[in-house]
Symmetry: C2
């Protein structure tokens, strides 16, 4: 008799963004004359850079000609041309990563979820709260115990290790989704030290690193000494280059990172991850890999930096408004997200409904990311400058009533 | 302390195709003057169809323009345009599948592996031997017990259920990889009846369905009554349309398919699979989905059928030679694979080395697919007609010595 994975019962019924999407759908249906400004889900809106489009088209053409057609990759770990480009990107931030330590994937979400396959089910997983739901859900699905560390206004939503809370695997995200908080070198060093001391592994989600503006903030966990022995870094081109619909990411599993076996021996995480991927994955579309390679070219970097600057300007429009209104917030400078306190005693879900009804601006209620998100709210800068300006104009007007 | 998933120790050290790839690499290095004819790994060689390339290029251009740019899909289950196209493809073979029962993915290998997430670890999994290693490896990785049913020359490498061998989840592949054997309606009905009787779930890998030439053979398990209550069908465009390097597949999880929970209640497999995918996957690249849609257009079908006919002709070249030499084989007519008995008492790994050394033709030793593959060998028709003809000429000459 085929038995279901009971661990699915540990998950909340509906994935946050789907839930919100349904609420919005209903509003749109009932209010056809009121166009929404969507600043909720963390999806980009600007088109792909011209060099990226060109690279994808050229690769598509290659696929149509026998002499240049490409089938399966030999390894499924990503073409060397792309792994070398990623290694070069790290090199430019002063970090040495070998192409062999990089695996290309269809995105950070897949890797954040699938990485759990290489770990035993009896590991204790630590996530900060509020948290991107994937870290939690993927591990609940695998039957693991998940413990939460409080991120809140007292620690500026950038929780650092608590020696009384032990864990074997730690998911951290910086700049953080949803709070926009970015770890300093000193804070990140605390995490690396904690992991090394406890033989824990950090899964470091760097999906938003390209939004960091302060030069002194780390953009990779490997900028911290010792991280190569305790950290896996997951990154993506979704936010860096607008690949949310194009799908390409990469994960760094350093050669030095070891995991324990029951008999006291060790194995490398890299060996297990390669085996996982060669069994349950078959590489990323060749034209997509060529498109990704173009992102890392000189012209590509220039073009994607322009787009990021555009979003950063939107974030500035939001934070300027919040500064003016005296609203407490984190993020916005080194992140596309602005995370702020809901007015008065209003709950975040009430505030979601209120904004939708009153000014037709869609955001994301903080409680969807965990209990410390209660009463907090996330807006994103992934919109046009015009819409962002208009949304903040309406927002300011709405605030007159509080 | 971060603990490894011990189940990786249950896997063989190296994935078969990687192992072979290394052997070939070594031969090429040491014999630069002897070009190989590769008839080993099941990878296509013909270019993508012109309409497919055109669709991908157009979609890439859309991604470069703000008005037509696409980010995340709402659901990650695949765009409706593609799910409708797949439903239409089923409809043409007389099978009713709703677009909501179809989930688009980056390929059959990913789905065959990842589907195991929705099942409890204490299910017993049945695979036929010889077998595509992914079914076995993915379930070993998850800690499940795997039992083997013999496919051999006595049952023409098309094993049917054995009531003494009980299982909860059954992986079957028809036309089969590696044996090329295709189930008849009567044989497939035996599997559906067995699954219904035992409340088992069949994961049916139909990746090679487009190679079926005999009209009376089923191309989908849903052509068998009752399969909608017990079978998940995984399919891919890799072999249908040369998407091995483009990456797109689809999985049908019928609404009626239920799984048991410990408390005696039931849940639907579809609900769990959607939840799995919305947590650990984020959809397929938009230009790839447009390319896939083009495969199902009238012109697309015509173009991909031409390519399949080309490979079918290669298979014919192989089987004609085998017929002439009196070699025992299965497959070739309804499959791109020809599976044959090695000469005399030669083991399949010896025969691999012998062919490589003597005629520089690369095939796949059967034992890589399981114990019943010992002494058997797989050749594929995924090559040029010229190479296939040349390989068979050399093969015939080589056979004079046996």
């Amino acid at each position: 008799m085929a038995k279901a994975n009971e661990n699915f019962n540990r998950l909340k019924e509906s994935y946050l963004f789907i839930e919100i999407s349904e609420k919005i759908g209903e509003f749109v249906k009932n209010n056809p004359g009121k166009p929404l400004i969507k600043m909720g889900i963390g999806d980009v809106t600007r088109p792909l850079a011209p060099v990226v489009v060109e690279a994808m088209k050229n690769a598509a053409e290659e696929m149509g000609v026998a002499e240049t057609f490409r089938g399966y990759e030999d390894t499924g770990r990503g073409y060397l041309f792309l792994r070398e480009a990623v290694a070069g990107y790290y090199s430019a931030m002063g970090v040495t990563i070998e192409p062999d330590e990089i695996l290309i994937s269809d995105g950070a979400k897949s890797d954040c979820g699938n990485l759990s396959d290489i770990f035993s089910d009896d590991n204790v997983v630590l996530v900060t709260d509020p948290v991107y739901p994937v870290y939690n859900d993927a591990n609940l699905m695998g039957g693991r115990q998940v413990v939460f560390l409080n991120s809140n206004i007292e620690n500026s939503f950038a929780a650092t290790p608590d020696e009384s809370l032990k864990a074997d695997i730690i998911y951290i995200c910086s700049p953080n989704n949803p709070t926009g908080a970015a770890y300093t070198t000193e804070q990140l060093k605390k995490w690396v030290d904690y992991a090394l001391k406890n033989n824990a592994v950090i899964v470091y989600d760097a999906a938003y690193e390209a939004f960091i503006q302060d030069d002194e903030l780390p953009r990779s966990i490997y900028q911290i000494d010792g991280a190569e022995k305790c950290a896996i870094e997951v990154c993506s081109l979704s936010k860096t280059a607008g690949f949310t619909g194009t799908r390409c990411g990469y994960t760094v599993v350093p050669e030095l990172l070891e995991l324990e076996l029951k008999d006291g021996t060790k194995t490398t995480a890299q060996k297990l991850w390669r085996r996982r991927q060669s069994t349950k994955f078959n590489g990323v579309s060749y034209p997509v890999q060529r498109a990704a390679q173009a992102v890392f070219s000189e012209e590509g970097q220039k073009q994607v930096r322009d787009t990021i600057a555009y979003y950063q300007n939107n974030a500035k429009i939001i934070t300027s408004t919040f500064d003016k209104l005296g609203i407490t917030y984190t993020g916005g400078k080194n992140s596309p997200y602005v995370w702020f306190k809901c007015p008065g005693t209003m709950s975040d879900r009430e505030f979601f409904d209120y904004m939708l009804k009153t000014i037709q601006v869609v955001g994301t209620p903080g409680s969807g990311f965990g209990k410390n998100g209660e009463g907090w709210f996330r807006l994103t800068s992934f919109n046009t400058a015009e819409n962002t300006t208009e949304a903040m104009k309406r927002f300011e007007k709405m605030y007159e009533q509080f």
